[in-house]
Amino acid sequence: MSKCLMIVDDSPVMRLFVKRTLLAAGLPFDTCLEAANGVDALEKLRAFSLVGSIDLILTDINMPVMDGEGLLFELKRDVALATIPVVVVSTDSTDQRVGTLMKLGASDYVRKPFPPERLSQVLSGIFPGWSGQ
């Protein structure tokens, strides 16, 4: 069962790392949109919604222009995008930050550094049938 997803991170190498980790974890995807910040993500999500739907958003927190908190806030108040699960992938893992993100509606949190199994564990919890097998 393949997915359409979006990776939001201002680091191109981190976006590539996440894509590679998904494939290494046996989590296939048909479409992978990429965005460098929250504003870029919202623009691309709204444009893509005319032709398809995104199943999952993986986002960093610390980004220029609009950070991960801002993106979560905007997503949850947009009726068309509010139900897309959002998993935060970030180095910023203080208790206060994680608590804020979960209150804003994040589905889960993956702290960097993480092994592929950690991402697989979180995403399998959201999509039990998502597997390459």
Binding site: S11, P12, V13, M14, L16, F17, R20, A24, N62, S90, T91, D92, S93, T94, D95, Q96, R97, R111, K112, P113, F114, P115
Partner: protein, 164 residues
């Protein structure tokens, strides 16, 4: 951001660095976790802070502030840039260029800094600034913790102080 002047000023104030055994152990654990889980490198572990002797090192520094402030710098041997970037990105070394190496080092520094701070201040509120590349290891005027790798070495330096 004038990292060189800022880090030199830090050393003139009441700050802690990797000469402190507790801070060194926290940083050591963070570095080992990052290298093993995301770069698939298991370094030898010297755990002895010392001046850095890597004239050709690639270096990046991240400043942080919030409930504490300071900086963390990472220096890797030039010979380690391509192998580490290739391991991180799942590419062959021949596919990795200078841009990927620099981006990888910035991300590596960001992750090591985050992993260190989350151990030091799990309940704190901290902001890590985007790491920047610097030219000389002497910019980070502090003892370095060295981790020998098969390709060269990984080095980390840390300075922390109370929030201003």
């Amino acid at each position: 951001m004038d990292t060189q002047n800022d880090t030199q000023n830090d050393t003139q104030n009441d700050t802690q660095n990797l000469a402190n055994p507790a801070l060194r152990e926290v940083c050591r654990q963070a570095v080992l976790e990052v290298l093993e889980t995301m770069f698939f490198e298991i370094p030898l572990d010297e755990n002895v802070p010392s001046p850095i002797h890597e004239p050709d090192a690639l270096i990046a520094c991240a400043r942080f502030d919030g409930s504490m402030k300071g900086w963390l710098c990472v220096a890797i041997s030039h010979s380690c840039a391509s192998p580490l970037a290739a391991g991180f990105l799942g590419l062959e070394e021949e596919e990795v260029g200078e841009e990927e190496c620099h981006s990888m080092l910035i991300e590596l520094t960001n992750i090591v800094c985050g992993a260190t701070l989350s151990r030091l201040e799990p309940a704190g509120r901290l902001h890590i600034q985007q790491p920047v590349l610097v030219e000389s290891p002497h910019t980070c005027d502090s003892p370095w913790l060295r981790f020998p790798l098969s390709c060269g070495s990984f080095n980390a330096a840390l300075s922390t102080g109370p929030a201003s």
